[in-house]
């Protein structure tokens, strides 16, 4: 498999502000490999270091230490070459709201050195592709969130980059627009682009990404395909809820020794049990707890999700940590 992006101990430390001057280690020695042609997800809660990493990889921010090769060029020694071959859609978007979609696209082409005639042709093509005909001649200020996001994405790919970075591409969109975007992102892959996207939506990573890296507190805690990550956890997960810590502790003690439980993970007043055959084992769990006189408040069965992976790797649930 061709490697299109590789980092080696990429680190960013921000000088502290305020009286204490406490340094902030936003990214701590990140090693990543992105394969050509894949959709690579960078998953983590807000503040985990996703955007900082992305800012470094897109030449916006100089790393404190470490190195990276992006589309075959050294990020530190040759940022200009990197810029020519990557596309980037920031979280904020970056469309000029005082101009129309067409004007935005034409200027963007020109900044990438595309001659005028071709720039106009490309703008028309992209307006067509992203179904912007209806509003493409209006100023971007008047667009809805979803319309604006389409323009942002179009701006990121005018120069046909081989690698495109999308920072939280669907944050704040309604479900319908999100589904539309997922299709468009898959289409980028079909067109031969490699997509590197950050997200804190598990469904997004699950639906779109060939492989994901999980980042927490500036460190990569897991990298693999979503299936492999989930497989590591067990076939199914039983979640049992209790009314207080004492009961949770007691239940943990009672269940820890059981052979059929592959992994056991406490979280607040809940226990996550990872097992092979949850349906038939649920009564067994209840029986054991009943024998110990432990009151069960809730019990549920589910397939392991990326959230379970995240929970195991970081001790927190992404659903709680995110947003």
């Amino acid at each position: 498999m061709d490697i299109i992006l590789q980092t080696n101990k990429l680190t960013k430390t921000f000088a502290g502000k305020g009286r204490q001057k406490k340094k902030v280690e936003a990214v701590k020695g990140v090693d990543l490999q992105v394969h050509k042609g894949e959709i690579f997800g960078f998953l983590g809660p807000n503040g985990a270091g996703k955007t900082t990493t992305l800012n470094m990889l897109t030449t916006l921010l100089a790393p404190t230490s470490g190195e990276a090769t992006v589309v075959g060029h050294d990020l530190l020694k040759n940022p200009q070459k990197v810029r020519e071959h990557i596309g980037y859609v920031s979280q904020a978007g970056g469309a000029d709201t005082s101009a129309t979609a067409k004007e935005n696209l034409v200027l963007q082409s020109r900044l990438y050195g595309i001659p005028s005639a071709e720039a106009f042709k490309k703008a028309e093509m992209l307006i067509d592709r992203f179904q912007m005909k209806e509003f493409g001649d209006r100023k971007a200020r008047t667009y809805s969130g979803g319309q604006r996001r389409r323009l942002d994405l179009a701006l990121g790919i005018v120069h046909k980059p081989v690698l495109v970075f999308l920072d939280e591409p669907t944050t704040g969109l309604d479900p319908q627009s999100r589904a539309y975007f997922w299709e468009e992102i898959k289409r980028l892959k079909n067109d031969g682009m490699t997509v590197f996207l950050t997200t804190h939506y598990l469904e997004e990573a699950d639906n779109l990404c060939d492989r994901v890296a999980i980042i927490d507190h500036g460190e990569i805690v897991a990298v693999d395909t979503t299936q492999q990550l989930k497989k590591q956890i067990g076939a199914e997960s039983i979640t049992v809820g209790f009314s207080n810590d004492a009961a949770t502790e007691k239940a943990k003690a009672a269940l820890s020794g059981q052979k059929f439980i592959e992994k056991l993970f406490p979280q607040e007043n809940k226990l996550h049990l990872y097992v092979q055959d949850g349906g038939s084992l649920m009564p067994e769990v209840l029986r054991i707890l009943d024998k110990e006189n432990i009151q069960v408040q809730t019990i549920g069965l589910s397939k392991p999700s990326l959230d379970d992976v995240f929970l195991q790797k970081t001790g927190r649930s992404l659903r709680e940590a995110g947003v």
């Binding site: 005082s98 020109r110 900044l111």
Partner: protein, 252 residues
């Protein structure tokens, strides 16, 4: 050449944006008119009963007014901070666009507005009876535009470093007033007490104003002219460098 192309395309974009908000242009043009209409008549009756001839007052007052206007470019960053916030600048920085062209296109487009304002002020001053040699007027305009370049660049540098309108407002307001008063814009520094004269020597805009007054008088050989241009050009280089540096460090 990529730099010149980028400069032109970005400049056109900024001009389009300005022209689409004619209200701001209008408000910018109002300022010089108000100064001339509401302030200059006061000067007329200042020096005892006799009064100075209108021509003399205009000659002393208009150069200072032009420099004040140029210093007003310190506020250029306000509309720019929003462009940082919505990610336009980051998008340009990820592209191979020349970084210097990003700064100079912004600074340059502001100069068109400044040129219009300054021309209007001079035109009205003519109606008030101003007489100026053509060369003096042209050179003064160049000086004024250079002051504008320095001030707009400084404004962009502060905007890029703080990304915050209220920070930009408090920094600019803190410096604007003392620098303006110490440059002898309202009245020549020559009528000031010694300590103010000494303080003014450290104010670059004092040289710009005095230089412009010499130019208006047709006194081209005066050392103040050379000093004025020297100081202002040095200031431009320094401020553009600061803005460029701030642009490159924007994401930090």
């Amino acid at each position: 050449m990529k730099f010149l192309k980028d400069l032109w395309y970005l400049f056109v974009r900024h001009m389009m944006k300005t022209l689409r908000m004619p209200l701001w242009l209008f408000i910018g043009l109002m300022q010089p008119v108000l100064y001339l209409l509401l302030y200059m008549p006061l000067l007329k009756n200042m020096s005892g009963g006799a009064g100075i001839p209108a021509d003399e007052i205009a000659k002393m007052f208009v150069p200072g007014m032009l420099v004040v206007m140029a210093m007003g470019q310190l506020f250029a960053g306000f509309s720019f901070i929003d462009e940082i916030r919505v990610g336009i600048i980051a998008r340009w920085l990820v592209s191979p666009a020349s970084r210097l062209s990003i700064i100079l296109s912004l600074v340059g487009s502001q100069k068109i507005t400044l040129f219009l304002q300054a021309s209007l002020l001079v035109f009205i001053a003519f109606l008030f009876g101003l007489h100026v040699p053509v060369l003096g007027l042209v050179l003064t305009m160049v000086m004024v535009l250079l002051v504008g370049v320095a001030m707009a660049s400084l404004s962009y540098a502060i905007s890029l470093a703080t990304k915050d309108e209220s920070a930009l407002a408090s920094i600019t307001n803190t410096f604007y007033l003392p620098i303006m008063l110490l440059s002898g814009i309202m009245l020549p520094i020559s009528v000031a007490p010694q300590w103010i004269k000494t303080a003014a020597l450290f104010n670059p805009f004092y040289y710009a104003v005095e230089g412009a007054r010499c130019l208006f008088d047709g006194d081209y050989g005066n050392t103040m002219v050379l000093k004025g241009f020297g100081v202002v050009i040095a200031l431009c280089v320094l401020m553009i460098w600061l803005a460029l540096r701030a642009l490159k460090k924007m994401a930090a």
